[in-house]
């Protein structure tokens, strides 16, 4: 009797669960609509207040902008602006707006709307994150000369100012609508928290293809909010999703076995994975350890002994590229092609250590004062690739007679040790680079910066090479001459390669999946990745 009662309770429970609408339930596709998943809900639909990836994705699809970064040329290209120019002193930016532009509700788009949108972003009341890129936003003035001309006056030259206008959506003056009335390719149509964001094509979008057909080809976009990667892959496989923006290596390999035509390895991304030693003078480390980490020969020897090709092959299933530089080869404009890279040779590493006074006794490495060399590598728990790399490096270091301990900590604790307590020996982490311009990494390289991770917030540069990096970063930030900027950045790349403050390990490759039914996709490693040309993408069989 008891078991029957339990069975009934169980059945009732199952029935009640089944009766509830599931959060991950699939939604029917509107004909011609493109569908894929993003990880989490956008925090805002106001294009001026975007400060995270999901909101930025929405802004990219809905916001019409004056200039748009073209991943092919790595330059900002005219969009709503027909043409643009910067004065020789870099303090005046002029735009000529295209003729006959309309918002999605049919109203005209003029220089008044442009000036209003720019002023709104610059206003402290809006607290727009993008305003910081003007360096001194309160002193920037915007002037609408006539319905087609807008001039922006800057208090000082801003390097890469063109790209800043790619982040400012032009909205109807005095009528901000959180993406509902836009000058971009799509408008926000429906949002169900935790389920999906649906956008529909802007019927008044200005762009046409070569044959005169108005873009976008797709009738709309639905972005499902889905953090479960297994579900995302399953839905891609059953045709519910048209693309996956980024795949982990093991899932990529699995999908490649089942559907080789659907997956693509785009080669090295802009992101880097690196190892560095704690060289901070405030570090909670014994003096003899600090001396190892400050010793260039020690760092270079460690770098030489790491088998980067094994890291790429094993930790990333072959979908990563060995790295020796902070600028990925994918960033063709800035990557230095004539960099002298370390030799990746155990024998040279041993010679280098011997020349610095280290000795090997009984298979263990000792420094000149007789201390056995050992250190711990800290990395974050939950990142399997990093844990694998740390364990592989552990074995590489054993060949030098160095005993390495791998420690995984949850992220908040790791950051606490890294940024506040300075209580670590070596750390293995990655850096996501969204902006290809190296000026965006200035806070990493300047010795006074709190993000100068191997030795943060130095009052004055503690070494001559750090002083030289500071000087080069000043040069590239202040020079209007692209060649001079490139020379300065090349110099930083060579110094970093010589000194190894960061031992670069790999560039993880960008792995994506694109449905064979999706036509027009031209994926790139630059943000926003596959969908940068979404206006030209369409499902095969659907006629615009």
């Amino acid at each position: 009797m008891r078991s029957i009662r339990l069975l009934l309770i169980g059945a009732a429970l199952v029935a009640s669960i089944a009766g509830e609408p599931s959060r991950s339930q699939e939604v029917a596709r509107i004909p011609g609509e493109l569908v894929w998943a993003i990880r989490y809900d956008p925090k805002t639909f106001d294009p001026a207040k975007v400060d995270e990836q999901a909101s930025e994705t929405i802004r990219f699809f809905t916001g019409g902008v004056l200039l748009r970064f073209d991943p092919r040329s790595q330059q900002p290209e005219p969009e709503l602006a027909e043409s643009w120019s910067i004065s020789p002193d870099g303090r005046t930016v002029s735009f000529r707006i295209r003729n006959g532009l309309h918002f999605s509700d049919g109203t005209d788009l003029t220089s008044r709307d442009v000036a209003w949108s720019l002023r709104r972003v610059l206003s402290p009341a809006t607290a727009a994150p993008v305003a910081e890129e003007f360096i001194n936003p309160q002193q920037v003035t915007v002037e609408a000369l006539d319905p087609q001309h807008v001039i922006v006056h800057l208090p000082q030259r801003v390097i890469g100012i063109g790209k800043v206008f790619d982040e400012i959506a032009i909205e109807p003056a005095d009528r901000p609508s959180e993406g509902k009335v836009t000058s971009g390719a799509f408008t926000v149509f429906e949002y169900k928290q935790g389920q999906y964001v649906r956008m529909k094509a802007n019927p008044n979008y200005w762009k046409h293809d070569a044959t005169g057909v108005r873009l976008p080809y797709a009738t709309g976009i639905r972005l499902d909010i889905l953090s479960n990667r297994e579900q995302e892959i399953a839905r891609f496989q059953n045709g519910s999703y048209d693309l996956i923006e980024s795949l982990p290596p093991e899932d990529f390999s699995l999908l490649a076995q089942k559907d080789p035509g659907a997956v693509r390895d785009l080669g090295p991304s802009l992101n880097t994975e690196q190892l560095w030693f704690n060289q901070s003078s405030h570090a909670a480390l014994p003096d003899f350890e600090k001396k190892w980490f400050e010793n260039r020969s020690f760092r270079v020897a460690i770098s030489d002994a790491i088998h980067r090709s094994d890291l790429a092959k094993i930790a990333y299933d072959g979908h990563a590229t060995p790295a020796y530089d902070f600028i990925s080869p994918a960033n063709t404009m800035w990557h230095s092609t004539h960099l002298q890279i370390p030799r990746q040779d155990l024998a040279s590493a041993i010679r280098m250590l011997a020349s610095a006074g280290f000795v090997t006794k009984g298979g263990r490495l000792y420094d000149a004062t007789g201390h056995a060399v050992n250190f711990s590598i800290l990395t974050n728990s939950g990142n399997r690739a990093r844990q694998k790399m740390a364990t592989l490096i552990q074995q590489d270091m054993a060949a030098l007679g160095i005993d390495v301990t791998v420690v995984t900590l949850d992220f908040p604790e790791l950051i606490e040790r890294l940024m506040h307590k300075m209580d670590y020996e070596a750390c293995l982490l990655g850096l996501s680079n969204v902006d290809p311009d190296p000026n965006a990494m200035a806070n990493l390289w300047r010795s006074s910066s709190p993000n100068h991770q191997w030795n943060p917030s130095e009052a004055t540069p503690s070494t001559t090479w750090e002083a030289q990096i500071d000087k080069d970063m000043d040069t590239q930030a202040g020079s209007p001459n692209p060649l001079e900027r490139k020379r300065a950045i090349d110099d930083v790349q060579q110094i970093v390669s010589d000194q190894q403050p960061f031992i670069y390990l790999v560039y993880p490759n960008l792995l994506i999946a694109v449905s064979p039914r999706l036509a027009g996709a031209e994926p790139t490693v630059f943000q926003p990745g596959i969908v940068w040309n979404v206006t030209s993408m369409r499902l095969q069989g659907h006629q615009p």
Binding site: I314, S381, Q395, V406, T408, D410
Partner: protein
């Protein structure tokens, strides 16, 4: 399943694991970088893991390490429980209340978070073996209160028994009474408690390991190896990834069976 069967099977497993670990050749840390996630072969009987390490040796090491550490932690935990429970039973009322309050306080602690905090505040250069020892010591330090309550109630009952009164009347001191009379009578309570704690600690370590906070690499542990089951891509590559979970469940069943039969 009889106790004898469980005992024999466990002994057999431990013996086989010991032979595998002691056998010259692969160690649990040796990486064969040309044989990543390799299948079964003469060299690697149950294949290799995602770093090319011999799975048989790693599973055998994890089994021995888990059993030895969990048994040691369980012995410590049961001893603390026996000590606290007995002292409380033979102490004046207020002392007993304080001791039991202390054990109740321990019971209410969010042990997983506490473990994470303690684990993350350990010295970074603690060797993998030390990290294993410390992980199980923490488990032992947190595992005694429930048992202490049971011991307290048992000892309290025994304290008023006729033979204890007889012993006291014969002039035996409290220490002698406890050693000669009480502990032998508490044995039926302490032995199952010890046997129940062993699988509980094994599972606790496995949970910590799946959070990446248990025994440090390259030392193998149940938790670390169960991480392989996290991804369906890994499951598709080799059926041998199920070996640790199959063996862990078998060991847990055998231990539970042993405790139940006692």
């Amino acid at each position: 399943m009889s106790r004898r069967f469980a005992c024999t099977f466990l002994t057999l497993l431990v013996l086989v694991a010991t032979v595998i670990v002691a056998w010259p050749g692969h160690t649990y840390a040796t990486q064969d970088r040309d044989a990543i996630m390799a299948g079964s072969s003469a060299e690697h009987w149950t294949g290799t893991d995602d770093l090319g390490r011999d799975r048989t040796v790693r599973v055998a090491t994890a089994l021995l390490l888990g059993l030895v550490c969990a048994a040691a932690a369980s012995a410590i935990s049961t001893s603390i429980a026996a000590g606290v429970g007995t002292v409380a039973a033979f102490s004046p009322g207020p002392v007993a209340s304080v001791l039991m309050l202390l054990s109740d306080l321990f019971l209410t602690l969010p042990w997983l978070f506490l473990l994470m905090i303690v684990r993350s505040s350990l010295p970074l250069n603690a060797s993998p073996m030390h990290s294993a020892a410390i992980t199980f010591l923490i488990l032992a330090a947190l595992g005694w209160p429930a048992c202490a309550r049971a011991v307290y109630n048992g000892a309290l009952e025994l304290r008023g028994s006729d033979w204890m009164i007889q012993g006291r009347a014969n002039g035996l001191r409290t220490g002698q009474l406890v050693r000669q009379y009480l502990l032998p009578h508490l044995r039926p309570l302490l032995v199952p408690q010890f046997l129940l704690c062993v699988p509980a600690f094994l599972v606790a370590e496995a949970n910590l390991g799946t959070l990446g906070l248990g025994v440090a690499e390259p030392l193998p542990s149940w938790g670390g190896m169960l991480l392989e089951l996290d991804s369906s891509a890994m499951l598709a590559r080799s059926s041998w990834v199920f070996l640790p979970i199959v063996l862990l469940v078998s060991v847990l069943l055998l231990l539970e069976c042993l405790a139940y039969e006692v």
